[in-house]
């Protein structure tokens, strides 16, 4: 047992790192020997936090792992705190991290030294959509009507609320501005829930909240969904409000804004871990995805359920990095060297 553990912890990853051995599903698969720390590089109550705590709940309820999974919020420095910790924990098989777009945006905007290549990709759990929301009492019935009004009112008249500065919401706002030839005043808030409430209270004119952040207000008839920033409609056809399902929300492309943006909700772990360790977690998330709780959560939050692991996942991430760099560069958000 001890020798095995030593192998898993030290020697094998070392050899694997030099490409000397390929560990092809050993007879006794690796399993965590102590509680696994699940780092959330965001505050409590946000989208990543909700998902991580749901996973913790599912793992505990269905007994998917012998050791406990313990979520820890490390939100300092727009998530950099969490990422730096995982970067520093090279070879630690008892640490995983859930990511959002700040995996790319934080190092680019602040110059904090880390990159996703410092981590081992485990699995993409889903992609989170972005929807353009307005207050239901406003007269705009479509994205086109809304953007025409924004254009007519002149630059900086309409206020767009979002989470954080130089992160996904602001990047998307800049992308909309470029595509539609308008200019918003972007106002950063601390969390998605607060942004949705500010829109209900009419302190701002529009938001690009994720579905899960605004669904409650949408169902209550306080907000209106204008369009979704994805290349196809959200597939969920069950009625969410009295009249609409997520599928009824048109894509922004249909509405004439050719802007697409989805956010990664994926799992990474420290570099230098053995492939069998990664396999264990991939298996774990396969099991999580099969549970009814997960399926329900996916539907409620209208997630894009793309699931990737291994090389396809890494390829997706590196493409997304290039995309973010371009968007941030255009918006002038890159940290000055």
């Amino acid at each position: 047992m001890n020798i095995q553990r030593a192998l898993a912890r030290g020697i094998l990853p070392l050899l694997a790192a030099f490409g000397l051995v390929s560990v092809a599903a050993p007879a006794a698969a690796w399993e965590p020997t102590k509680p696994v720390e699940f780092i959330i590089p965001a505050g409590t109550g946000g989208g990543a936090d909700q998902m991580a705590r749901l996973i913790q709940g599912i793992v505990a309820k269905h007994n998917l792992m012998k050791q406990a999974l313990i979520p820890v919020n490390k939100s300092g420095g727009a998530g950099a705190e969490g990422f730096l910790e995982v970067k520093a924990a090279k070879g630690d098989p008892h640490k995983i991290i859930i990511t959002l777009s700040n995996l790319f945006t934080t190092p680019m905007a602040t110059g904090v030294p880390f990159n996703w290549k410092d981590l081992t990709p485990v699995a993409m759990l889903s992609l989170d959509n972005f929807v353009l929301w307005v207050n239901a009492e406003d007269p705009y019935k479509s994205a086109k009507e809304f953007l025409d009004a924004v254009k007519k009112a002149g630059p900086n008249t309409f206020k767009m609320g979002g989470t954080g500065a130089k992160q996904e919401d602001q990047i998307l706002t800049v992308a909309i501005e470029k595509a539609a030839g308008v200019k918003f005043t972007y106002i950063p808030f601390k969390g998605g829930g607060a942004v949705a409430t500010q829109l209900v209270g009419k302190h701002i004119n529009a938001t690009v909240n994720n579905p899960i952040e605004a669904v409650a207000q949408w169902r209550a008839g306080k907000l209106r969904a204008l369009c979704v920033f994805d290349d196809e409609r959200m597939p969920y056809k069950t009625k969410v409000t009295d009249t609409q399902s997520w599928y009824d929300v048109p894509t922004c492309k249909e509405a004439g804004i050719s802007t697409e943006y989805v956010m990664l909700r994926g799992i990474f772990m420290p570099a230098g871990v053995a492939p069998e360790v990664v396999n264990f977690y991939v298996e774990l998330f396969n099991k999580v995805r099969a549970t009814p709780e997960w399926k329900k959560f996916m539907e409620e939050g209208a997630f894009n359920q793309t699931y990737l692991t291994g090389k396809p996942y890494a390829d997706w991430v590196s493409k997304a990095e290039v995309l973010h760099r371009d968007l941030m560069k255009e918006a002038g958000f890159l940290a000055k060297p």
Binding site: G45, G77, A109, T110, K166, Q167, G193, A216, K296, E300
Partner: protein, 499 residues
């Protein structure tokens, strides 16, 4: 009357033997969590949340809200006995609670604190029961300018109270603001004041500073006076609760005012911390004994405790009805709701009647259960002060270190705690005040954030702070508080010249 029926239905849902058992377990666990600084109600609930997934949602939320009650009650214990606030909103409780304990009135201070918490929370629950829909609408009125106005009012009601040299007050307060600014700037996303040291990125957490300044600083101070705590002579008898209760009714005005402040701040959601500071500041202004605040006045314990707990309770309302958490604990509970398949938001009250009214009923019951448990333990808590100093002092240092570590799981924070401890000692000796420093550290970045959001909205026009009746009247109230001491003097002079 509809509410009353619904509430009684709620009681019938909550009052099963199984749920009652959960309540008592929850409160006891909560007190334990509240006593350990750093391991606040939010952490406690986050840690124990998974345990509840196997129960029906109503039982689960009853247990969790009882943990929350317990933690609220527990936070006051360390503040009063050792000057270590376990939670941000317990800081104001130390101002008069700890001097009371030093004078041997620990039992009285604890009873006052617990009773006040109960009253504050109870007031808030009654409000939630009857005014929920109305109140939820009020919360929507609050945008960035209104939030800034609330912070402004908090600072104004607290400023100019100290007896320390004015320039030292200034330096202490500004130091608090400077520490609060360390880390990432919310509005521009730039890193501020970290000088390339990435460990500082998470900023100076308030709890680390407070554990050091108050907890460690206090141990160093008591060391100087020889190996003892001054509260040792506390008389401990079981009738202390009744005796204290006899004295409390005369402070009804302070209680009522604090309840209102607390509910208002909980709903908006400004939160329990500004509520406690604001309530303490206003009580000091209004009370005839105002000048004696800080020397161990019962009123100085009543005001912050009542307001903090009214706010903490009222914060659950926006969470349930709007889906915005008014406190970190409410945020974690919100996550719990989602896992149980309940969608918080305006429709929760319509679609999940059993759950909502079961929860409200459990608030009544949990609060009462909590009060009974903590009050019976008052003599026990007070007896802790009788443990010899050379045993309790290192244990407190250990608890402080653990508390500092658990806030962010960072070793650096333990070093910072020690540094803050030395600073707290030096500040106390040289009469730099700690309260403005702490207030600025807790609310500084939120106030700045709200101000700059408002400036973005108005494109730099300051008139936004007087643009509607709500923000205008809060700002006006703040300005009134600012000139209050001057006004008081003027009135006194006029009276003198008239006489």
């Amino acid at each position: 009357m509809e509410e009353i029926n619904a509430l009684f239905h709620g009681f019938s849902v909550a009052l099963t033997p199984f749920n009652l058992l959960l309540m008592f377990i929850g409160v006891t666990l909560g007190v334990l969590i509240g006593v350990l600084p750093g391991l606040g109600g939010a952490n406690g609930i986050a840690i124990l949340l998974p345990l509840t997934f196997t129960m029906p949602p109503t039982s689960a939320v009853i247990m969790l809200s009882c943990i929350y009650w317990g933690a609220l009650f527990g936070g006051a214990i360390t503040s009063i006995l050792f000057n270590i606030p376990g939670e941000p909103w317990s800081v104001a409780t130390t101002f008069d609670g700890y001097p009371m304990a030093q004078q041997g009135k620990a039992g009285e201070a604890l009873t006052t604190a617990f009773t006040s918490s109960f009253i504050g929370a109870f007031f808030a629950i009654v409000m939630i029961t009857f005014l929920a829909p109305l109140v939820a609408k009020f919360a929507l009125q609050f945008g960035p300018p209104e939030f800034f106005a609330v912070f402004f009012l908090t600072f104004c009601s607290f400023i100019g109270m100290g007896k320390e040299p004015p320039f030292k007050i200034l330096v202490a307060m500004m130091l608090g603001f400077a520490l609060a600014a360390v880390g990432i700037d919310t509005v521009t996303g730039q890193l501020r004041l970290i000088f390339g040291w990435h460990e500082l990125m998470r900023g100076f957490d308030f709890l680390i500073a407070v554990i050091g300044l108050f907890g460690i600083g206090e141990i160093l101070l008591s060391m100087e006076e020889g190996l003892s705590f001054s509260g040792r002579t506390a008389k401990i008898n079981t009738r202390i609760v009744i005796e204290t209760w006899k004295k409390l009714p005369k402070y009804w005005m302070t209680s009522l005012r604090s309840c209102v402040i607390g509910c208002w701040m909980g709903i908006t959601p400004g939160g329990a911390t500004p509520a406690s500071f604001m309530s303490y500041g206003i009580a000091k202004r209004m009370s005839p004994d105002g000048a004696k605040f800080g020397t161990g006045q019962a009123e100085g314990v009543i005001a912050p405790e009542t307001a903090a707990h009214a706010a903490g309770t009222a914060a659950l309302l926006p969470m349930l009805s709007l889906g915005i958490p008014g406190s970190p604990t409410a945020a974690v509970l919100l996550g719990g709701l989602l896992i149980w398949g309940l969608q918080p938001g305006p429709l929760l009250f319509v679609e999940q009647k059993d759950f909502v009214w079961g929860l409200i009923a459990s608030m009544y019951l949990g609060n009462i259960a909590g009060l009974i448990i903590v009050l019976t333990c008052v003599p026990l808590f007070a007896a802790i002060l009788r443990v010899p100093f050379s045993i309790i002092a290192p244990v407190i240092v250990v608890i402080c270190a653990i508390g500092a570590y658990t806030v962010h799981n960072a070793m650096l924070d333990i070093w910072l705690m020690l540094l803050f401890g030395v600073m707290g000692y030096a500040f106390k000796k040289l009469s730099y005040p700690l309260a403005p420093l702490v207030l600025a550290l807790v609310l500084g970045d939120q106030a700045e954030g709200a101000f700059r959001q408002a400036m973005l909205m108005s494109q730099g026009d300051m008139r936004i702070f007087f643009s509607n009746w709500l923000v205008g009247s809060i700002m006006g109230l703040g300005l009134l508080m600012l000139v209050w001491p001057v006004l008081g003097k003027l009135v006194a002079q006029l009276r003198k010249s008239a006489a």
